[in-house]
Each structure stands twice: as C-alpha cells, then as structure tokens.
C-alpha cells in the first residue's frame, strides 16, 4: 500500500520558502498568484494491512519523525 503524507507549515508560522517562491512567481509575471505555501510530501510503501492499524502506525511515524509538530501540521491519505 502507498501512503502519502503531506507536511505543511502551521498557520501563522513564517514560511520563508513559500514567501520567496511567491515573489519569484510575481517577478515572472504570474501576478494573479496571491499566496504560496511550501510543504513536503512523503510517499511510504507498506505491506497490505487493516485501515485502522495502518492509520495508527502512520500517525505515530508522523508524530515521531516525519513532521515537526511544533511548527508543522500533517495529514495523510492511503492509496492503493
């Protein structure tokens, strides 16, 4: 199974990367873009298992390693 974990900077926390990309898009003429948020994505491959068990496990991995919950939020999505 594949799980896609998305990690984004928490609301209100400065996102220097997003800010700079936005500025660049404006320089390139894409003035209509009003905001950019940058985050990371982690695609995990796991053997087939029950949904509840999987979700518990992935949540644990996120809390322990994949996200820095002091400044980041995460969500994940289970694929085929």
């Amino acid at each position: 199974m594949k799980v896609r974990v998305t990690v984004m900077v928490k609301k209100g926390v400065l996102d220097p990367q997003g800010k700079t990309i936005l500025a660049s898009l404006h320089l390139l003429g894409y003035k209509e873009v009003t905001d950019v948020k940058a985050g990371k994505i982690l695609e995990l491959s796991l053997p087939k298992m029950g949904k509840a068990q999987l979700e518990k496990k992935v949540k644990e991995m996120c809390d322990r390693l994949l996200a820095n919950t002091v400044i980041e939020d995460y969500e994940f999505e289970v694929g085929e």
């Binding site: 220097p16 990367q17 700079t20 990309i21 660049s24 320089l27 390139l28 940058a38």
Partner: protein, 227 residues
C-alpha cells in the same frame, strides 16, 4: 582583462572572487547586480557561490530568471568564458547552460572540507594551464553538490571530454570513498559543448593565496587571464 562578477540576492562569495581577481591577480573587475541587463564589457563572467534566493525551492531555480542571465547566456553563446562556482554551477545547470543537475549530498549534510580533484580536461579557458590528470586540492562548501545527469548525458560528457574535474584520492585515483557528495562518475565540474562555460562545485576562490595555506585554485584564474 576585465571580470564581471554577477551578484544575485543571496550570493555570498562575490567578495571572495572579487578579492582574488582584483587583489591577488590584479585584474579589472566589477560587480554585476542581477537586475542589470548588460555585462559592463566584461571579458569573463563569474557566477559566484552562495544561496541565490535562499536556495529556496531548488538551488539556482529562481536565479536563472534574473534579467542579467539573458546577457550571460548571449555572452556564453558567443564563446565568452563563463565560470559558475558552487551556487554558480547550480544556476548554470538550472539555466540549461550546462547539462545535468545538482541534488542533495548523499549524507544530506552540508559539507565544508578539502577535496582532491583530478583534472580530466584542459580543453577550456579555465583549465588550459593545468596539466591533464593533475591533482588539485580545493575546499568545498555545499549541501547540494551531488551531480546528476541521465546515462546518455553522462556518456556524452565522457566521450566529448567535457568532464573537467572529478573527485579523487590524493594520488588521483577515482574512489567512492573520496567522492564527498555521491556525484555520478565522481563529477566535480563540467563544461558546455563549446568548452567556454565551466561549472564546478569546489571553490578555487577559497584557495588562491599562500596565507590561506593553499594556492591550488589560482591556476583556474591564471588560465583564463592567460598569465
């Protein structure tokens, strides 16, 4: 000879390059702010190290759109010597003036240390004074210096003699242990087709004076000046 050193927002080795060119080699030099459109009659253009635009998104990704880059591209296409050092190399690769890309070091860590380089091509204005195969010691300072290109490009580079420098041991042997960042084929520096554009991750600008304990980088500048 007149050098032009391009300054992007976030460049941080422009003063180091300036110092070498002006005070060590006593050449004419000026800074070229990235928003400018002309090269101020430079005979050689240097893209210095640093973190242009903070290296956000990807190293060099945004710098390639700076107004000055159009002139740099034109200058290069007319055969003018252009060298990109470290971040400058990343920018040249992003801009398509050099093939391939620079990705994260295999350890994921930034690395500041000396490396050994084997000179594999002296068919460029920057390497013509270096004997083929000569080993140079030079510092690196980068987090994203792992050279990547697809297999076709790599073999083309090899066949056409466009690999300027490779990481090696102090005797000049290629050895994965002496390849600091995981670069494919131990590539530390490459040339464009015509040989007038060089990109390299190591810093010749940090080793061109006796007081710094290493002058191996100086020969690159002397080559292009013709000293």
């Amino acid at each position: 000879m007149k050098f032009g050193i391009v300054v992007f927002p976030g460049s941080n080795c422009e003063h180091d390059c300036y110092h070498v060119v002006k005070h060590v080699l006593r050449q004419d030099v000026s800074f070229l702010w990235h928003k400018e459109k002309t090269l101020a009659r430079s005979d050689c253009v240097i893209l210095p190290g640093g973190f242009a635009h903070g290296d956000y998104l990807r190293c060099g990704a945004m710098a390639k759109f700076s107004p000055i880059m159009e002139s740099v591209t034109r200058f290069a296409s007319e055969g003018g010597p252009v060298v990109g050092i470290c971040n400058g190399f990343q920018i040249l690769a992003e801009a398509g003036l050099l093939p391939g890309a620079l990705i994260r070091n295999r350890t994921l860590h930034y690395l500041c240390q000396d490396v050994y380089l084997r000179t594999d091509s002296n068919a460029s204005p920057f390497t013509r004074k270096i004997p083929h195969g000569k080993v140079l010691k030079m510092p690196i300072g980068h987090g994203e210096g792992c050279y990547y290109a697809d297999a076709k490009t790599l073999s083309r580079l090899e066949v056409e003699g466009r690999i300027a420098f490779r990481y090696c041991d102090p005797k000049g042997n290629l050895d994965e242990e002496w390849n600091p960042n995981g670069s494919l084929k131990s590539i530390a520096g490459v040339l464009n087709e015509r040989g007038n554009v060089l990109g390299l991750m190591p810093h010749p600008d940090r080793c061109a004076e006796a007081i710094l304990g290493n002058e191996d980088g100086r020969v690159l500048f002397e080559s292009v000046i013709g000293l």
